[in-house]
C-alpha cells in the first residue's frame, strides 16, 4: 500500500479538494483506495456524506485499541473507503505525545490495512505538530498545495529542510500550484517563472474554478459531478503525474 498525504501548514489552500479528487480518480482506475480524514473539521467526511464520528474517538484509535476495520465507511464511489474524521482529533497531538514512539503511531494504525488497499490518501489538518510529523513518517509522498506567491515557495523550501532534519523516513515531497487564478499577475509570474526541470513541483496546476468550489454544495468530488470541467481535467492530469511517481 502506498501512502500519499496532502499537507500544508496553512488552511484553505486546496488540501481536501486534492485528497478527495485524487482518491476518487485512484478508485476509478481500479486501485483499492482508502481516504483518511485526519482533519477534525471533517470536510472530506462531509463531502462524502459520512458522519464525522469514530467510535472510541482518536485516543483509542491512535493507541491501537480500536478495530480500525470496523471504523471504515464505504463511499458512493466503488473502490473508495473512508476512515472518517472525529472532532476528538483536535486533541490528537496530546494523545500522540503521551504514546510510545509518538511520531510513528499513525503509520501503525494504517499497517493492518495495507493488505486491503493499494493506496491510502491522508487529508491532513493545517498545522505543524506531532500529527504532521506522524504524517511525514507515514507517507511515501507528501503532496503540498501552494497558492502561487513568493512566500509560499519559501515556506515549501522550509518544509523540505524541516523534513530533511527531523524525519527518519523521508517521503518524496512534491508541490503543486493550487487555486491558480490566471487573471492575477502574481499567480502568472510565479507559475511561469519556475524552471522546467524542477521535479519537486508538479507540472499540473489546479485552477481556481467555480465547479471546484461547488463541491461543498454537490457533496461530491468535482471529478464525479463535473468530470469534463477544467478543474476535473486538471485533477486528472495531477493524478497521472502522481501515479507515475508512485509507480502504481
Amino acid at each position: 500500500m502506498k501512502i500519499v498525504a496532502t499537507y500544508n501548514i496553512k488552511g484553505g489552500v486546496g488540501k481536501t479538494s486534492a485528497a478527495v479528487n485524487l482518491a476518487a480518480l485512484a478508485a476509478a482506475c481500479g486501485l483499492r483506495t482508502l481516504l483518511w480524514d485526519l482533519d477534525p473539521q471533517g470536510a472530506a467526511s462531509y463531502l462524502f456524506r459520512v458522519r464525522p464520528k469514530v467510535r472510541g474517538g482518536g485516543r483509542k484509535l491512535v493507541r491501537g485499541r480500536s478495530d480500525v476495520a470496523e471504523l471504515l465507511r464505504g463511499t458512493d464511489i466503488e473502490g473508495l473507503d473512508l476512515l472518517p474524521a472525529d472532532f476528538s482529533y483536535r486533541h490528537m497531538d496530546l494523545v500522540l505525545d503521551e504514546s510510545g514512539k509518538p511520531t510513528r503511531r499513525l503509520r501503525k494504525v494504517l499497517m493492518p490495512l495495507a493488505e486491503h488497499y493499494d493506496l491510502a490518501v491522508l487529508d491532513c489538518p493545517p498545522s505543524i505538530s506531532l500529527v504532521s510529523e506522524n504524517v511525514f513518517e507515514a507517507a511515501d509522498t507528501l503532496l503540498v498545495p501552494l497558492i502561487p506567491s513568493i512566500l509560499t515557495l519559501r515556506t515549501f523550501e522550509q518544509l523540505g529542510e524541516f523534513v530533511d532534519a527531523e524525519v527518519d523516513r523521508r517521503p518524496d515531497i512534491v508541490a503543486f500550484f493550487s487555486m491558480v487564478d490566471w487573471r492575477k499577475r502574481m499567480h502568472r509570474e510565479v507559475v511561469q517563472s519556475l524552471p522546467d526541470g524542477r521535479t519537486d513541483i508538479a507540472r499540473t496546476s489546479i485552477p481556481a474554478a467555480t465547479e471546484v468550489e461547488l463541491m461543498g454544495v454537490e457533496r461530491s468530488p468535482v471529478v464525479v459531478h463535473a468530470p469534463r470541467s477544467r478543474g476535473a481535467r486538471a485533477y486528472a492530469d495531477l493524478w497521472a503525474e502522481l501515479r507515475e511517481r508512485l509507480a502504481l
Binding site: 481500479g30 456524506r49 476495520a69 464505504g74 466503488e78 473507503d81 490495512l113 457533496r219
Partner: protein, 519 residues
C-alpha cells in the same frame, strides 16, 4: 482483518416482473434509479475454472477503444481492466503489465484464460440512500441471455444483485429482509457465469482432475474399476482438444495424469480383467504415455526456466538465450510429433477399442479371480502391499544408492498415490489423509530428484547442437552454470529424502496401514 462487503445474487421467481420489482423497491426505500444499460460480454476463465474458485469474475467487455478484460474480485470494489487485444486465449505473459495481470498471475499460473460463454444483459442499477442521500446499499436488476453461435439467445434467469456498503450493515439487512419476506426472493443457486456456461453447453465446474465416483466397499471390483476407468477416459477426451491446440501446458499434463491413473488401475487391479484383453489395452495406454512424454518433459523444463534463471547471475542471462531458443525449437518439434500421433488412425482405433473394452462387458468372471471380490478387499490388499514394498525399497536406499533406485521408489509411490486417490474414499479420512500427506512429502523430494536429473541430462545433450551456433561458446559456459544449479537442487532433494522417508515409514504409520487395509 476482513473487509469484505456482503453481496447476494437473488433469483427472481417466475411471475415477478423486473420492472414491477424496481417500482416496489422505489415505494419501500429511498431509491435512486439509474439508467438501464445494455451490455454484452464474454465470460473468461481457465478450463478448470480457477477464477471461479478464487471468487473472481473475468469478462471481455466490448468498448469504443476495443475489447477490454475486466476483473471483478470483490463486491464494492472497483473493477480492474486492461486491453484484451484480439486473441482467442491469453496466457499471463500475453496480458499487459499492471494490476490486473498481477492479481491474476498467482491464481491462473500456467493456465490459459479462455472465452467460455457470451452473454447479453440489460442492467438496471439502483441505489438505496440514507437521510444524507448517501448510498448505503447497491442493487442491480439484470436480465441476461446466453448467446450461442448458430442458435437463438438462451434466456437466463433474471436476478437482483444486492451489495452492501462497508460500514452500513443495517440498511442491507433491512433490504434483504423485505426482499425475502415480501417478495419471496432467495439466493440464486449458481452464478450468472455458471448459468451462461451451462446454457452454452459447457460444464460450469470446469475440467476436473479428481475422479468423482461414489464407490461402496462391497461393490464388485470389476464394476468399481470400470466406473473409475470410464471417468478417467472422459478426462482424457476432454483434455485432448486443448492438448492438440496447445492452449496451455496443463491440458497435456491432465491428459497424461488420467492415462497414468488408468494404467495404474489396470495394473493394480489386474485380477479383475481378462488377461489377454488387458495386455492390449495396457499396451495402448503405454503408447499414449510414450508419445506424449517428450513434449511434457520439455514443458517441465520450460515452466522451470524462470526459476532456474533466477539462480544464475544476471550477467549470464543473455548468454542463455540460444539455450532457450533451442528448447523452444525442440518443444515445437515434439508437439508436431505428438499431434501426428494423437491425430493418427492408430490412436483413433486404439481409443475406440479401449472405450469398447470399458463399455461392453469383460466376459466370464472365471478367468478373473478378483472380479467378484469386494473392491475394499482388493484395493486394500494392493495398498498394503505397495506400501510394504515401498518401505522395503526405501529402507535399502543410502547415500551410495544409484539415482535409479530413487526413481523406482518414486514410481511405486505414484502407484500408491493413485490407489489412495481413486479408492481411498472407502476408508476413514483420518487415516487416508495423513497417509497421503506423508506420501506426498516423500514424492515431492523424489520428484524434484528425478526432474532435475532429466533436466540436467537434457541440457547436457544440447551441448553439441549449441556448440555450432552463433553465441554457442558463451551459451555452453552459461549452460554449465544451469546444470550445476540443477545438480545442486538434485543433491538438496536427496539430502531431504531420509527425513521424508522416515515420516512415511514410521512405525505408527506402518501399524495404521496394516490395521486399516487388512482384508
Amino acid at each position: 482483518m476482513p473487509l469484505e462487503v456482503p453481496s447476494h445474487s437473488l433469483a427472481l421467481p417466475d411471475g415477478v416482473d423486473p420492472q414491477a420489482l424496481v417500482s416496489f423497491l422505489g415505494e419501500r426505500f429511498d431509491v435512486v434509479v439509474e439508467p438501464v444499460t445494455s451490455v454484452s460480454y464474454t465470460v473468461v476463465d481457465t478450463a478448470d475454472r480457477r477464477l471461479r474458485g478464487a471468487g473472481a469474475d473475468l469478462t471481455v467487455d466490448g468498448g469504443r477503444s476495443g475489447p477490454t478484460l475486466v476483473l471483478r474480485e470483490q463486491a464494492g470494489a472497483a473493477p480492474l481492466s486492461t486491453d484484451a487485444g484480439r486473441r482467442k486465449r491469453w496466457l499471463i505473459g500475453d496480458l499487459p503489465e499492471g494490476a490486473l495481470r498481477d492479481r491474476l498471475a498467482p491464481v491462473v499460473e500456467m493456465r490459459a484464460l479462455m472465452p467460455l460463454a457470451r452473454v447479453q444483459a440489460d442492467v438496471q442499477p439502483l441505489r438505496v440512500c440514507n437521510r444524507e442521500a448517501k448510498t448505503v446499499v447497491r442493487m442491480r436488476v439484470a436480465t441476461h441471455a446466453a448467446l450461442v453461435t448458430g442458435a437463438d439467445p438462451v434466456p437466463l434467469s433474471p436476478r437482483l444483485e444486492v451489495t452492501g456498503v462497508l460500514g452500513y450493515p443495517k440498511p442491507l439487512a433491512r433490504v434483504l429482509g423485505v426482499l425475502s419476506t415480501e417478495v419471496g426472493l432467495v439466493d440464486a443457486p449458481g452464478s450468472m457465469a455458471d448459468e451462461a456456461i451451462a446454457a452454452s453447453g459447457g460444464d460450469p465446474e470446469g475440467i476436473r482432475t479428481k475422479v468423482r465416483i461414489a464407490l461402496r466397499p462391497d461393490q464388485r471390483t470389476d464394476k468399481a474399476a470400470l466406473a473409475v476407468l470410464r471417468d478417467l477416459a472422459g478426462m482424457v477426451e476432454v483434455n485432448l482438444p486443448g492438448t492438440l491446440d496447445d492452449l496451455d501446458t496443463e491440458f497435456l499434463h491432465d491428459l497424461r495424469v488420467a492415462v497414468r491413473r488408468s494404467r495404474s488401475v489396470l495394473r493394480e487391479l489386474k485380477g479383475a480383467f481378462p488377461p489377454e484383453k488387458l495386455k492390449v489395452q495396457r499396451d495402448a495406454l503405454t503408447w499414449v504415455q510414450a508419445v506424449t512424454g517428450p513434449t511434457r518433459d520439455l514443458d517441465v523444463q520450460l515452466l522451470d526456466w524462470d526459476h532456474l534463471l533466477a539462480e544464475v547471475p544476471a550477467s549470464r542471462h543473455a548468454a542463455l538465450t540460444p539455450v532457450r531458443t533451442l528448447l523452444d525449437r525442440h518443444r515445437a518439434a515434439a508437439l508436431r510429433a505428438l499431434r501426428r500421433d494423437l491425430r493418427s488412425a492408430a490412436y483413433r482405433d486404439a481409443w475406440r477399442s479401449y472405450r469398447t473394452f470399458l463399455g461392453s462387458g469383460l466376459g466370464p468372471a472365471r478367468d478373473r479371480p478378483d472380479a467378484k471380490r469386494p473392491i475394499a478387499e482388493v484395493a486394500g490388499r494392493r495398498i498394503r502391499k505397495v506400501y510394504a514394498r515401498m518401505v522395503d525399497m526405501g529402507s535399502a536406499i543410502d547415500g551410495a544408492s544409484p539415482a535409479a533406485e530413487l526413481h523406482d521408489l518414486r514410481k511405486r509411490g505414484k502407484e500408491l498415490r493413485y490407489l489412495l486417490e481413486l479408492f481411498g474414499g472407502l476408508w476413514p479420512t483420518d487415516v487416508v489423509k495423513p497417509m497421503v500427506r506423508s506420501l506426498k512429502g516423500l514424492q515431492d523430494v523424489l520428484g524434484t530428484h528425478q526432474d532435475r536429473e532429466v533436466q540436467a541430462d537434457h541440457l547436457r545433450a544440447l551441448a553439441d547442437e549449441l556448440a555450432g551456433q552463433a553465441g554457442g561458446p558463451d551459451a555452453l559456459l552459461a549452460l554449465g552454470v544451469l546444470v550445476d544449479q540443477l545438480d545442486a537442487e538434485q543433491r538438496a532433494a536427496r539430502a531431504g529424502f531420509a527425513e521424508r522417508f522416515a515420516a512415511f515409514a514410521a512405525r505408527d504409520q506402518r501399524k495404521v496401514v496394516t490395521g486399516t487395509f487388512r482384508p
